[in-house]
Amino acid sequence: MRPQALLAAALLGMALPVLAGEIAPSGRRSGYDFMSADSKAMQDDDTANPAMLSVLEGETLWTTKAGAADKSCSDCHGAVDVSMKGVAARYPAFSAASAAPVDLGQRVNLCRRQHQEADPFAPESRELLALTALIAKQSRGMPITAGGDPRLASSVARGRELFVQRQGQLNLACANCHDDNWDKHLAGSAITQGQPTGYPIYRLEWQGMGSLQRRLRGCMTGIRAQAFDFDAPDMIALELYLMSRAHGMTMDAPAVRP
């Protein structure tokens, strides 16, 4: 379809109620499936995927002592490929200390604060992206399991509410694009199902790394809504809903996306 027709198709959703036809497990597709052959090749080759540069930085940080406790991540967690295997696939997870769900970046910062006695990393900082990329890589090829914990139920429900809630000047819900029109295009880009399998990602448009939160803020700005603040409870709820919606899908982090 031509971009104009596709935009019209997406905007047509404005007049209709949210259908939010949930995607059946067998129909779930990663953003990877929608990419060009060139972008797929870039992601598949660890010496061509620029996200691996961030992973390399993460490996250095993993063994660097920091904070008043003068401890490195590896001092407590040992080898990252053992201790962090499958961890990213079950985040956001419930944190007893915070009495709330935390995403992987927040979990790393909990260790910064409580266990290293150091200042937390800023959202989207090089360091936080590097450490989360390193940890996420240890879940590559594993199925997403986040959201099963009963203590998360209310947050998953809140995330779903936000996902189907129309917002912004364009008055569109996430579901209008990612559940109802995922097989179409918007101004040349595949809309995709909005699956969170690859985060943090190296996005070609950004020429850099970014978290799922940054990606979601992009979609909110795109529909001219007020983007949630980084780490706001609603942001975490939305991340959590996306992960539970992707239950069983294979992690392909750190991924490349257009």
Binding site: D45, T47, L56
Partner: protein
């Protein structure tokens, strides 16, 4: 040292054509952008890449502002003998980075 990834086959048959791939972390700030306050963001790019094999230059590239961040360069060469590839990236603000990789040719 900034992060670099080089991909050289560890082994090759004599005379085989091999692909060498390199990825270097760098912002490649073109020097044409402005901050929200209107100030020019100064140029900060890699200007040159060189690959030597056993000391002899076998590949060189000049880089320019239009090249995306984290430049990925790949090229082909013929495996003639065992030895060492040395890679060097040079850029603005005194940027210098190196990497190396060995190959066994049989």
């Amino acid at each position: 040292m900034p992060a670099a990834l080089v991909n050289v086959p560890p082994k090759a048959r004599r005379g085989a054509v091999i692909e060498i791939k390199t990825l270097m972390s760098h912002v490649m700030e073109p020097g044409y952008r402005h901050t929200a306050a209107g100030e020019v963001v100064p140029r900060d790019i890699i200007t040159s890449f060189t690959c030597r094999f056993n000391g002899a230059e076998i590949f060189r590239a000049d880089l320019f502002p239009a090249i995306a961040a984290n430049p990925f360069l790949s090229f082909f060469t013929t495996a003639s003998e065992s030895g060492k590839f040395e890679f060097e990236w040079i850029g603005d603000n005194g940027f210098v980075a190196t990497a190396s990789a060995a190959i066994t040719v049989e």
